[in-house]
């Protein structure tokens, strides 16, 4: 089984978000970049298939050279090889077209992604990719098993969960639950040394156009100070929620 894991490279979750050039550009100054947390779940599951079922795991990322430490980290965690498509990921449409090309060249059985990048929150690349390739798609996946060419995937639906079976090839967008928190891997020295020798190929992008464009950012409005209520006076809280906030 060949698995392609799509990796998005995002600011660490603790990052303070600021913008430059009259709010047109994300300020990367002092920002630490990491593997998108949902993609880390996907990668961890892929490595489980590698260890238990002999799968080969390739990670792929659309980004410029500055993102290479993120791909090296994926290799250190256990991916077999990495592909970087050398282009700035302008929008989800552009990214999905690049990834579709890699899929077609590699004859993969399974594409794993995260359900959303935590920076631009597009939540579209996996669905676009599945549709461009005309293969089935499972979103928000919380459990995935593969048996031969059949996948069994559990996904979150509104107010519950639903389990599907599907034939490979398949696109699965993962989220929390896909693996246990304790199974996430921190690269060890051996992994890091091995990662240096693993293949990381750089490929040129194919011709593709973006269909959306971010013009400008805004920060949420500053909110008023918190009203403090005495712990012995919960009646006052109820009164405020009822008459002021009008939420109960």
């Amino acid at each position: 089984m060949k698995i392609l894991v799509c990796i998005s490279h995002v600011p660490d979750t603790t990052s303070k978000i600021n913008f430059n050039n009259e709010l047109t550009e994300f300020d990367t100054n002092g920002v630490q970049f990491v593997i998108n947390p949902y993609d880390e779940f996907a990668l961890t599951r892929a490595i489980w298939f590698q260890e238990k079922q002999g799968a080969k795991v390739t990670v792929v990322h659309v980004g410029d050279a500055s993102t290479e430490p993120t791909l090296r980290k994926c290799l250190a965690i256990g991916a077999d090889d990495a592909i970087r498509i050398d282009a700035v990921p302008t929008d989800g449409f552009f990214v999905a077209q690049q990834l579709a090309e890699i899929y077609k060249q590699g004859e993969y059985d399974l594409i794993l992604t995260g359900k959303e990048s935590i920076d631009y929150n597009g939540a579209m690349v996996p669905g676009l990719l599945a549709s461009f390739l005309d293969i089935d798609f499972v979103n928000a996946c919380i459990s995935l098993e593969i048996d031969g060419t059949t996948a069994t995937a559990e996904t979150e639906i509104d107010g519950g969960t639903e389990t599907f079976t599907a034939n490979l090839p398949l696109v699965v967008a993962g989220q929390k639950g896909l693996v246990e928190e304790k199974d996430l891997k921190i690269p060890n020295m051996r992994g890091i040394m091995m990662a240096r020798k693993k293949p990381l190929s750089i490929v040129a992008p194919v011709e593709a156009t973006a269909v959306t464009e971010i013009e400008r950012f805004e920060k949420p409005a500053q909110k008023a100070a918190c009203k403090m209520i005495d712990a012995n006076d919960v009646d006052q809280l109820i009164e405020l929620l009822h008459n002021e906030a009008k939420v109960i």
Partner: protein, 317 residues
Amino acid sequence: MSVLVFADTSEGIYKKSTLETVSYAKAISDLLGSELVAVSMNATDNTALQNYGANQIVNVQSASLNNKQYAATLTQIAKEKNSTVVVLGNNAIGNSVAPLIAAQLKAGYTSNVVAVPINTAPFTVVRKNFSGKAFGQTQILSEVKVIGLAKNSFGIVEKPTTATVTDFQATETNTTLASVSVDKNSGKIAIADADIVVSGGRGLKEASNFSLIEDLAEVLGAATACSKPVSDMGWRPHSEHVGQTGKPVAANLYIAVAISGAIQHLAGVNASKTKVVINTDPEAPFFKAADYGIVGDAFEVVPKLIEKLKAFKAENA
């Protein structure tokens, strides 16, 4: 030309979030001066959509469809109705169907949109970025636009119309996806649907103490939620984890009990309108993001609050 909106149902009934999505789509159709076509899925009474401005109702009745079948059906209708904008809600179905439609229609898709377009030429929307830590003004450059609406960002607006109703057969498509089982959290209110969410953190010390959260939620008719470590430790199910890497919460009221208010937690719950924090530590960062705060021990404050709320509910029933 038309605006198309996906009006999904739960057990035959339109959810509040669906009516919000239809109201929002109506506002866009008004901006563009075009008709609003609502695609109604398995509704027992689709005429309800007329109250929210639908000019045409396309009625689809079908056994449960998967995302690909929904997308094929909506795409076909969008083409027949010459739709320039397709609107879906950012719920579980909307999230998986919207990008599939966008790919089919070669349309730009923006999820997490929070307001009516600020401009129609060029078509520009405002959407949440960085898990709600910022907003981005985004232009959709393609001829057809697909929009995902963030929950609780527009509200329900009544605009009575008289609509024409036509039946439509779901479009066939090749798919190997087969549903084998559905597991509904019966009797529980889903976080995504809830007006009020009551959430507990690590400060509650052990799983059994979450009865406090459940009792408080019960008096308020609220959904229950938790911080990440609480679900990581198995005190509560994963499905209750809220925050940047968990479920987003955009409720009217969010009550955080014994949660410190880490940046990743806040990123996912900040969109809630009113936030109440109960925490022993006056320095807990959550107080900076909250509207109302009580510095106190949850084990004392919450039982009192439950008791007083019961009295309040009895009086205001």
